[in-house]
């Protein structure tokens, strides 16, 4: 019984048979990932700038942003953005607005991961010794120039490993967009399962696919960022 089931689980022929549909689904994971990563990095950077700003209201704003989105579960945020945000916007603008599932997915994941990334960025920025900033100011550099020439080049290197972790988490989180009907790999797996009535090979195939992908990318990212850091510091 068990060995027969095991054979069926590892019999990925069915998974392979649907490879085109499933691969097209995987592409959606990458789209969602890429666009929400851009959103998350931009918002996260703004929030981090807010948190290290000398102006108290901006610091508060940054802190509220970070604490809200870092503590929000991805799925709750996804559902909220998809079902509540369009209604709120409709009420405000006086016209009916709906979000395509893809748009909701990008907004929700972008917001949540901007919270994590903001903390990563802030740690990187604050790790740059204060003396350097004072020295730059003494040379007559302005705030934006100091950020661009002195802080960012060092901060980016310092926060790279943690940012890579954030990105890996973000990619993992893209699997839940199937729940608001973005046709990603998981969505298509559940569709095919309903047709074939054989969840074993299909869900196992999906798990293996995601595992190999994420594990490989995480290992590459780790090696890459380590090497880059070493090269720069040495």
């Amino acid at each position: 019984m068990f060995s027969q089931n095991l054979r069926e689980m590892l019999d990925l022929a069915l998974f392979w048979e649907y490879r085109q549909i499933l691969l097209a689904g995987l592409a959606f994971n990458f789209y969602v990932f890429a666009v929400s990563a851009v959103v998350a990095v931009s918002l996260g950077f703004l929030a981090a700038l807010g948190r290290v700003n000398p102006l108290r209201p901006l610091r508060w704003l940054g802190a509220i942003h970070v604490e809200t989105f870092r503590n929000a579960p991805d799925y709750v945020m996804l559902v909220w953005v998809h079902f509540v945000l369009p209604l709120l916007l409709s009420q405000m603008l006086g016209q009916r607005i709906t979000f395509a599932p893809f748009v909701s997915a990008v907004i929700a994941l972008g917001l949540v991961y901007s919270g994590y990334l903001a903390e990563t960025f802030r740690t990187g920025i604050q790790a740059v010794p204060k003396g350097q900033i004072e020295a730059a100011r003494a040379c007559g550099m302005g705030g934006a120039l100091i950020m661009r020439r002195i802080i960012l080049p060092q901060a980016v290197r310092m926060m790279l490993p943690e940012a890579m972790n954030n990105f890996v988490s973000l990619f993992k989180a893209t699997t839940i967009v199937s729940l608001i009907t973005v046709p990603d790999l998981m969505y298509r797996v559940s569709m095919v399962t309903q047709q074939e009535m054989r969840p074993l090979p299909l869900y196992t195939g999906a798990a293996i696919t995601y595992f190999l992908l994420i594990w490989g990318v995480a290992a590459l990212a780790r090696a890459g960022s380590e090497r880059w850091r070493r090269k720069i510091w040495a």
Binding site: F2, N5, L6, E8, M9, E67, T68, N71, A72, P73, D74, Y75, V76, M77, V79, W80, F83, V84, L87, L88, K172, A173, T175, I176, S178, L179, M186, V189, S190, T193, P199, L200, Y203, T204, A206, A207, Y210, F211, I214, W215, A218
Partner: protein, 222 residues
């Protein structure tokens, strides 16, 4: 404000019941994850023949998205090994699996961090390796990794929202059911999101304070 009262305050029993299920399933998953994580770390460190299996298992748990794992446990395991038999069990098993991988690596780093000399000293005063681990190594490791363990609990709470997908009646499930009854998502979902955010914020703040006090008390101050 009428809507808030009708849709949220008057439904507070349902929502709180959901929150209770959330807390319960997270607590079970957390306890199992800690035990499993410690076990996996010990196997990876000390049981040479099984080292590769434990290592692979840890990597698998860490690199697979929680939603994928939940579906895998829920649909594949019952057919493969006849367990878990309920959605509730599948829910906490998936949550525990996911976290056990992370915790195993945390435990391993902690254990490796304890100097070899301490274990040798324990052996010199006649402690067996198991006693030395229990009395000397483990307490220090737990204090050292307390903040990471707290973070992992908040990760479990965040991931636990997904068990509503397999009809476990947690807070997320109850709030979506209310939305389906009333067709008015704004207040219900906003309240749910706020509840989750506040709950997770409180847990991590409280946990961090506790962990800091523990570390301070045992001389590992932040």
């Amino acid at each position: 404000m009428g809507n808030w009262e009708r849709l949220v305050w008057n439904q507070r029993d349902v929502l709180l019941q959901g929150l209770l299920v959330t807390i319960e399933i997270c607590a079970i998953a957390f306890a199992v994850a800690i035990v499993m994580g410690l076990g996996l770390a010990l196997i990876r460190l000390y049981v040479r023949p099984l080292r590769w299996i434990a290592g692979f298992w840890i990597e698998y748990c860490r690199a697979t998205p929680i939603f994928v794992q939940l579906m895998w446990v829920n649909y594949v395991w019952p057919e493969l090994i006849g367990w878990p038999t309920s959605f509730y069990t599948a829910g906490w098993v998936a949550l525990a699996l996911q976290s056990s991988g992370y915790l195993a690596e945390t435990f391993r780093a902690g254990i490796e961090n304890i100097g070899r000399g301490q274990r040798e000293a324990a052996a010199a005063v006649g402690m067996s390796p198991i006693l030395a681990f229990r009395r000397i190594v483990l307490p220090q490791v737990l204090v050292m990794i307390a903040p990471t363990i707290v973070t992992q609990f908040t990760v479990i709470v965040k991931s636990s929202t997904l068990v509503s997908v397999i009809t476990v009646q947690d807070l997320m499930f109850q709030s979506q059911r209310l939305v389906n009854v009333w067709y008015e998502p704004i207040e219900i979902l906003t309240a749910t999101a706020a509840l989750y955010i506040l709950f997770i914020f409180a847990v991590s703040a409280l946990g961090k304070a506790l962990a800091d006090r523990l570390r301070l008390r045992y001389g590992l101050g932040t």
